[in-house]
């Protein structure tokens, strides 16, 4: 992922976080608005309650007045008890009203109302008492008193005033409630809009991530497929090249043999002819000195055998080289059978076979315990270790006690083995060259044709591995063998 992508992603994440925070704030605000709304509703209800109480008070007072009038006309107990009940209820309503109202002006009005009520009730009580005592005339007089009527009117006006004041309050509270409701709707709408936006944003971001993921997965799959194809193709190419080389080596070695048979054959014929001539000259040295001049004798007895000797040794060397090539080519055509190989016993078999030569040179081989186990062709792996260890023993430094160490470790799906010696070492210039066929390095004081390492490398390649050399001249050499932990086998050759 590049930098702009990363910045963009950070931006998207920040935006989403801000969106969610705003959503939370909107939720909190909605809760707050709802509770405020409830407060408003309560206030309105309270106003109604006040109005209702005023109304009750008025009705009860009127009822008491009506009951008094009834009593004045007909002194029945029914009117009296009605009067008592209504005055009690009116007083009660008045007390209730006092506990409800908090507005100072309303409180003033209430105090006046209370005073007027007391006055009126006193007047009414007086007339009731007089009527009960039978003094209907005075009772009537009190009833007719202008003062009483005025008090009643004042009470009515005051009640009206209070109710209308309460109505004003109610209207105001209604407006407030509506405003708060509107606010609630706005907040809820805003929150809804925000929710929608955040939701859309999240959905978009998620979709984008999924699209990214899918496209990178597709890209990866394509890459994988093309890589596999490339590897298969490359492997096939390598296999073809290898087959070509094997066939070439095989044909060359056979076709070179035919002329070699002639060279060797006729050299031998020449030698036997020379021997005859030699015998002739040596058996009769002084027979006829005049007939055979010195140079002729020299040619027959020395030059001819010398020449045939060189021809013979060269042809023999050529034969060895051709045989080596043939062996390599044959090894390359042998079919491989991968099997699980416990490496410690395998290396021990190889070192045991070198015991005699190690004894001769006073050298030791130390094999690290627990070499990684691999799956590969037994014969080929044995051959590899045998070549490398033989090489190590062969080129030990006679000046010091030889010590060879075999180490191994598994790295991922590769097994890496190291054969470390303290021998004479290899010039860094020759680190590649020694793996070439017939090429050798350093003093040519050991028998050999320069085939072992070439063979080892060809084998390592064939087993899906590599082989490298690291060495300092005079200090020893380390050969690293890198093999697959599990060799899957090669295609079946015809």
């Amino acid at each position: 992922m590049n930098l702009t992508d990363r910045t963009f992603n950070r931006l998207v994440l920040t935006a989403l976080a801000v969106g969610f925070a705003a959503l939370t704030a909107a939720g909190a605000m909605a809760v707050w608005t709802v509770s405020r709304n409830q407060d408003h509703a309560q206030l309105i209800e309270h106003a109604y309650q006040v109005n209702a109480t005023i109304g009750r008070y008025q009705i009860q007072l009127e009822r008491a007045e009506t009951a008094r009038r009834g009593y004045l006309l007909d002194q029945s107990d029914l009117f009296e008890s009605e009067y008592e009940a209504s005055t009690g209820a009116a007083k009660e309503a008045l007390d209730g009203l006092q506990s409800l109202i908090r507005d100072p002006r309303q409180n003033q009005r209430h105090a006046r109302l209370r005073a007027l009520t007391r006055l009126e009730l006193a007047a009414m009580g007086q007339s009731m008492r007089l009527a009960r005592l039978g003094d209907l005339g005075r009772a009537q007089a009190i009833f007719d008193e202008e003062q009483s009527v005025r008090a009643l009117f004042a009470i009515r006006a005051l009640s009206e005033q209070m109710t209308s004041a309460q109505d004003v309050l109610l209207a105001q509270r209604n407006v407030n409630e509506k405003a708060s409701l509107l606010l609630l709707y706005l907040v809820l709408g805003g929150a809804g809009l925000l929710l929608l936006l955040v939701g859309l944003g999240s959905a978009w971001a998620i979709r984008r991530y999924f699209a990214d993921l899918a496209s990178s997965r597709d890209a990866l799959r394509d890459l994988n497929a093309s890589l596999e194809g490339a590897v298969t193709e490359r492997t096939a190419d390598l296999q073809r090249a290898n087959d070509e080389i094997q066939r070439f080596a095989y044909i060359i070695s056979h076709d070179l043999r035919a002329p070699l048979v002639n060279i060797m054959g006729f050299t031998a014929e020449l030698e036997s002819a020379t021997r005859l001539i030699n015998a002739h000259f040596t058996s009769a040295p002084d027979h006829s000195p005049g007939e055979v001049p010195g140079p002729v004798r020299l040619a027959a007895c020395e030059d001819l055998p010398e020449a045939t000797g060189f021809i013979r040794s060269s042809a023999q060397k050529m034969d060895r080289l051709i045989n080596a090539i043939l062996r390599l080519s044959r090894e390359g055509r042998r079919s491989l059978n991968p099997e699980p190989l416990p490496m410690n016993p395998l290396v021990k078999t190889v070192t045991d076979s070198l015991e005699h030569r190690l004894g001769e040179r006073g050298a030791t081989i130390e094999v690290e315990q627990a070499l990684p186990e691999i799956v590969n062709d037994r014969v080929a792996v044995e051959q590899l270790f045998s070549n490398l260890l033989e090489n190590a023993v062969k080129y030990l430094d006679p000046a010091r006690a030889g010590k060879i160490v075999v180490r191994g470790e598994q790295r991922g799906n590769r097994a890496i083995f190291e054969i470390i010696d303290n021998g004479r070492g290899i010039d860094p210039r020759d680190h590649q060259r020694i793996f070439d066929l017939f090429r050798r390095s350093g003093a040519q004081d050991q028998a050999g044709e320069g085939i072992g390492l070439a063979h080892a490398r060809a084998l390592a390649y064939r087993l899906g591995g590599t082989i490298t050399c690291d060495s300092t001249l005079g200090e020893g050499a380390t050969f690293s063998l890198n093999l697959p932990a599990v060799y899957a086998g090669e295609r079946i050759e015809s």
Binding site: H254, A258, L260, V261, N262, M264, G265
Partner: protein, 148 residues
């Protein structure tokens, strides 16, 4: 003791030098039978099947066959001889430079009677040919004519 063996030796060998060395060593083994040499497959087959003096019409013969010929493979000649025909019982000695296991097996599968590798080392070579000569001197030949 070999003079009475009426067997002709037919040598199919493209390398003149090899032919000369083989002949020399056969003669040194005391074999004096008539020896015909061909350097290519076509003329050898012509002689074997169509020549009035050839083994298909005249007496028994033994063939020394090289596998590497310029015009055809020795396997083809071997297969032709050993397939049904007047010469299928004729002994065939394959004498070649190849010592590949697969090729040797293939020759025997095709019906070759003896397979000899020409050793590069001349002492071994001449020993092998002389042994072949001794073998020829004791070999019992089938009737040269075809059985049909």
């Amino acid at each position: 003791m070999n003079e009475h063996l009426p067997v002709n030796i037919v040598m199919v060998e493209d390398d003149e030098g090899h032919a000369r060395l083989i002949e020399k060593n056969i003669r040194r083994a005391g074999i004096s039978n008539d020896l015909r040499h061909f350097t290519d497959g076509a003329s050898a087959l012509e002689y074997l099947y169509n020549d009035p003096e050839g083994p298909a019409h005249a007496g028994p013969a033994l063939i020394l066959l090289d596998l590497n010929l310029p015009d055809m493979s020795g396997f083809d000649i071997l297969a032709r001889i050993k397939s049904d025909g007047p010469l299928k019982r004729m002994p065939v000695v394959v004498l070649t430079t190849t010592d590949d296991k697969v090729e040797i097996e293939r020759c025997y599968d095709l019906g070759c009677n003896v397979y000899i590798t020409k050793p590069v080392n001349y002492e071994s070579f001449s020993d092998a040919i002389r042994s072949l000569g001794l073998f020829l001197s004791v070999i019992q030949m089938p009737d040269g004519h075809g059985d049909r």
